[in-house]
């Protein structure tokens, strides 16, 4: 069937089912190449379409039934029951989804699956004759079967909406005031709810909605809260599933009793079994992360003409046929499933599951493209968009427009990258595989292309920019950029020094590279070359708008040193959270000072106030480290949080903890009697946290022993003075008591925080079994980072920790 949205769609669907045939929806907006692929795969006996579509779509060679021209034939036919036997094993429908190899795959469901799909949802949501339900999803997506069939099967009213209508928030807002029951993806809902808020002072008009559900993508808690508020009389649900399990996997009834802090997808529908399995496809305990897999009546027959893929994706366990969703998640002790992310490169974009592999494969076939990769990126407005990164062949004419046209010609519109970004090279990880996480984020792309970005103009600026682009694998560099702030690190800086000398005879100073902007570096080069610099011409670059930064002492007897980064300006009515940065400790704090400050400045520039501080006896704070204790350092986190609360009352508080700072902060929540305690924290972001105080001290001892060995050539056997009551470890002197406390410091057994933490950890740490287990057991979201170099490099003390994407990651989480 290939039709524009109309009543005919419902008629055709019922007609196909009446004769026991197989329904294959074909989106008329698909590129001709994709339609041909699907037709070749399904070999349909009949194509139902309209005369106008038949004239422009590639249906040549196929038997056609034109719903407009052939209406007379339909009217002449009997409407009686044909009395045909119903074979539940016959294929009821085939929905095409994106495939990893560049070809779409047809998900083949039986009539038994269809019966399960419609009956289970009808039972669960008590769909009745009185219900009025709009069909919002595209007909080519399997969730549309729920929208089309549910009201028809229950005798209710189906509202078919044209595509332009669905994409117009104002018209959709009106529709929501006229229906009783709807399901919509979070992206579309977000826009419509915003429109409703804009146009309606009160929400009485929406009291007729008795069911509002969302799914198909991660549904953020705030969206569910908004649904509760606007549809005040509706039951609000999250629905989770995929075409392969007939969409109805789990559902979560959103409570009106309390505020939603995290989104669950709930419990399975009747006759559905859910399991969380490890890599060996063995069930994992409650709370442990694994792949979400389903068995039961909804599990479909497989993929059309793809037996190997079917065998790969569907498997038998406990005597039942299971399908692995590819989503990582866990089951809470209350039995609710929570989704934490994807295990492969399938993404969900505006409700659609898309295999990035298919986009990558199509990009690679683009004119002049040598390498390509795609990724979903989140923009400033929180919306994800597809970004295609391409590397053109050396002898090719790099034409992004031509690549875009190629994509439009071969993929459905929702799979065409919104941005196509040419790069010099694709970033590789330590295993020499393409590192998707190291690809420039939207904010980076926007920054370099922003209206205020100043393009290099002088010869030296252009030479440097070209080197930076090549070494950092970025497409644009502005005069105001700093090498390290663009993601450079010491090894890359060394490469820059070498290549600058080799290619242009430029001698750069490493200190200059670390601290200076491209414009200043170029001015230095010009001076060395005896050329006139902008400074000599009296030109001064415009001062960048930087957040207000104030250093001060606070806490008991003003003993703690802190720096408050206050946004230069915030948008009217906007209230971003306030961030407390609990820094690393000892030499790690010094090593990370560059990136810590950078994180604070970037957050403040985005309107998020930040307070960072030094623990008692460290940095600029008062006292000696030997007089410090774990109790005091935990309290310091609480003192700082109270200070931030004083500076920004009524702001939600986020704690970003790094290394030992993370462990101290989470333990500060459960302070002892008489100790300062943390105020309410809405979010925790923990950057490669120390998960065991004992392991941390052991590591310090190992490093310190290495330092002492390094000193041997100076001291020739003379041992450092040992004081019985203390122990020096890598430049910090701890009391024996503090060391004992540190060794006993551990991750709280029960999560001691009201909000689930997000872990930022490098891939190699996640791969470490013990650490991974500790992270999983801590009820957290885990965000794998590509750190290089890392916190735990053997020679870490000598190296400044660069911004390995941490600023971006934190900014993305918070905005």
């Amino acid at each position: 069937m290939s039709l524009e949205p109309s009543l005919d769609v419902a008629v055709v669907l019922l007609a196909v089912q009446k004769v026991g045939a197989t329904f294959v929806p074909l989106e008329p907006t698909y590129p001709a190449a994709r339609i041909r692929t699907i037709l070749e795969d399904t070999m349909p006996t009949l194509v139902v379409t309209s005369a106008s579509l038949a004239a422009k779509l590639p249906f040549e060679g196929h038997a056609l039934f034109l719903v407009d021209d052939d209406i007379a034939k339909i009217s002449a036919l009997s409407s009686d029951d044909l009395g045909l036997p119903i074979d539940l094993e016959r294929t009821a429908y085939v929905y095409y989804t994106s495939g990893t190899t560049g070809k779409p795959k047809g998900v083949m469901a039986s009539y038994a699956n269809l019966a399960h799909y419609i009956l289970r949802s009808q039972e669960r949501y008590a769909i009745a004759r009185t219900d009025i339900m709009p069909a919002i999803a595209r007909f080519s997506f399997s969730i549309s079967m729920f929208e089309l069939m549910s009201p028809l099967a229950a005798g209710g009213t189906l509202v078919v909406l044209e595509r332009d209508h669905v994409l117009d928030p104002a018209r959709m807002a009106k529709t929501f005031s006229e229906v009783t029951f709807f399901h919509a993806g979070p992206s579309l809902l977000r826009g419509v709810l915003a429109q409703i808020r804009k146009a309606h002072a009160t929400f009485e008009a929406f009291e007729g909605v008795r069911h509002a559900s969302s799914g198909g993508d991660m549904v953020p808690p705030e969206l569910l809260e908004s649904m509760k508020e606007i549809f005040s009389r509706a039951e609000v649900f999250v629905i989770y599933g995929s075409s392969e399990i007939s969409c109805m996997g789990c559902t979560y009834p959103v409570s009106r009793e309390h505020r939603i802090e995290r989104t669950y997808v709930g419990r399975p529908f009747d006759n559905v079994i859910v399991r969380v399995l490890d890599e060996d496809r063995q069930p994992v305990p409650f709370g442990v992360v694994g792949e979400i897999c389903f068995a039961g009546d909804g599990v479909v027959k497989g993929y059309l003409n793809r037996p190997e893929l079917t065998e790969q994706k569907f498997f038998t366990l406990e005597g039942r046929r299971f399908y692995g969703m590819g989503d990582m998640g866990r089951v809470s002790f209350a039995g609710n499933v929570e989704i934490l992310g994807r295990r492969d490169f399938q993404i969900q974009l505006r409700g659609m599951r898309i295999e990035l592999g298919e986009i990558d494969a199509t990009l690679r076939k683009g004119p002049g493209v040598r390498e390509a990769i795609s990724m979903a990126r989140e923009g400033d407005d929180g919306e994800k968009i597809l970004v295609g990164y391409v590397v053109f062949a050396a002898d090719a004419d790099p034409d992004v427009g031509a690549v875009r046209k190629h994509m439009v010609d071969h993929l459905p519109d929702y799979m065409v990258p919104a941005r196509i970004v040419p790069l010099a090279n694709l970033p590789l990880n330590s295993n020499m595989k393409i590192d998707r996480h190291a690809l420039p984020s939207l904010s980076e792309l926007t920054e370099t292309r922003g209206p205020h970005s100043r393009v290099p103009t002088t010869q030296a600026e252009k030479e440097l920019a070209s080197l930076w682009q090549s070494i950092l694998r970025i497409d644009q560099v502005s005069k105001d950029d700093n090498f390290f702030e663009l993601g450079g690190h010491s090894i890359l800086a060394l490469k820059l020094l070498q290549e600058a000398k080799k290619a242009h005879g430029i001698t750069l100073d490493g200190m200059d590279v670390l601290r200076e902007s491209l414009e200043t570096l170029a001015a230095i080069i010009d001076r060395e070359r005896g050329m006139t610099t902008p400074a000599q011409r009296g030109l001064v670059s415009p001062a960048a708008e930087i957040p207000v930064e104030e250093a001060f002492f606070f806490g008991p007897e003003h003993s703690l040193y802190g720096v408050h980064h206050s946004p230069a300006r915030t948008r009217k009515g906007e209230r971003r959270p306030a961030v407390l940065f609990a820094p690393a400790f000892g030499y790690e704090a010094t090593r990370s000072s560059f990136v810590t400050t950078r994180i604070a400045r970037r957050l403040a520039s985005a309107g998020i106030p930040v307070l960072r501080f030094d623990y008692f006896g460290t940095g600029n704070s008062h006292g000696r480290s030997i007089d410090g204790s774990v109790r005091r350092w935990k309290e310091d986190v609480a003192f700082a949080a109270r200070e931030l609360e004083r500076l920004h009352p009524n702001h939600e508080m986020v704690i970003v903890g790094a290394r030992l700072g993370a462990l101290l902060a989470v333990n500060a929540r459960s302070g002892n009697e008489g100790q300062a305690r943390l105020p309410a924290v809405s979010r925790w972001i923990l950057w490669e946290p120390i998960d065991s105080g004992r392991a941390y001290v052991d590591e310090l001892e190992r490093l310190h022993a290495a330092c002492l060995r390094g000193l041997q050539h100076l001291r020739l056997g003379r041992l450092p003075r040992v004081i019985a009551s203390s122990r020096e470890l890598v430049g910090t002197t701890f009391s024996k008591t503090a060391l004992r406390e540190l060794r006993a410091l551990d991750w709280p057994r029960a999560p001691a925080h009201e909000a689930s933490p997000t872990f930022l950890a490098p891939i190699h740490v996640l791969a470490h079994a013990d650490a991974h287990e500790a992270l999983q057991a801590s009820n957290a979201q885990i965000l794998a980072m590509a750190h290089d170099p890392t916190w735990t490099d053997a020679r870490a003390m000598e190296n400044l920790l660069p911004d390995v994407g941490i600023s971006d990651a934190i900014l993305e989480i918070l905005t």
Binding site: G510, A523, E549, V563
Partner: protein, 267 residues
């Protein structure tokens, strides 16, 4: 002793901590950032030194140069050296404002902080003394002989199993230190000679401290005078040679010794 934050310079961009004695200070010091290490200094050397000096009635301002620690980069189109000199000047003015016009001011620092201090002092006649930890050094004939003897001793001890170089040292030796990003260029001898001459002539004092971290260029306290054979130190240029100490003093006993030495010279 009391400490408070000083924010100074245009737009209060530069951030530092002023450590003041309980009584009116008899002198004051500005500590200049070392390399990329923030104002508390490597392993808090500057913070501990400032508090120790306060006990001897000296006020100290430690601060971050632009782009380091808590001080934002200045976007003015000037070279790093020009901006560093300008920022030290701002620090000197801020300290003078806090401690009083009559208080004599000295400058000090480690490594690049030492050289930045030394360079600034040449152009600001109000600076009465400088304390330079591991600054420039120039090998002399005596240095070469001692260096050979030291290497021979090490090799003997290594053969006897008494001494084993660390893996890091061996790697550095094998690569010629190529793994270090900061190929810091020390001040040339001509500039150093002129600057020191200028300081001595106007009656300022200069105290040099060399640790074992400089042992590839400095290995005897007598070497300093040999490095500047044309200059008459006249008791105004002094030196401490601390060969058992590493460049950033990772051991507390080394930091304490260094602090005592400096305090004794200044006090």
């Amino acid at each position: 002793m009391k400490e408070h934050v000083l924010q100074f310079g245009p737009s209060s961009r530069i951030k530092g901590v002023l450590t003041e004695p309980a009584r009116a200070p008899k002198a004051a010091m500005v500590l200049v950032s070392a390399g990329l290490v923030p104002q508390a200094g490597p392993y808090r050397l500057y913070a501990e030194l400032a508090r120790h000096l306060a006990k001897r009635d000296l006020a100290t301002l430690r601060f971050d140069l632009g782009g380091i620690g808590d001080t934002a980069k200045d976007n003015a189109m000037a070279s790093l050296r020009e901006r560093t000199q300008s920022e030290i000047g701002e620090a000197v003015r801020a300290l003078r404002g806090a401690s009083g016009e009559q208080v004599s001011i000295g400058l000090g620092g480690l490594c690049s902080g030492a050289e930045d201090s030394f360079r600034y002092a040449r152009n600001d006649r109000s600076i009465s003394r400088v304390v330079l930890i591991d600054p420039f050094a120039y090998p002399t004939p005596g240095f070469q002989w001692r260096h050979l003897a030291h290497r021979a001793t090490r090799r003997t001890l290594r053969a006897l199993g008494v001494y084993r170089p660390s893996a890091a040292l061996q790697e550095d030796s094998a690569t010629g230190g190529a793994s270090s990003l900061i190929d810091y260029k020390y001040m040339g001898r001509e500039e150093a000679t002129q600057t020191l001459d200028s300081l001595v002539r106007r009656g300022a004092r200069a105290h040099f401290i060399y640790t074992g971290g400089s042992n590839d260029v400095f290995n005897h306290e007598g070497q300093l005078q040999k490095m500047f054979p044309t200059l008459a130190f006249d008791g105004r240029v002094t030196v401490d040679w601390l060969p058992a100490m590493d460049h950033t003093q990772i051991l507390e006993e080394d930091r304490l010794e260094l602090i005592e030495r400096i305090a004794d010279r200044l006090g």
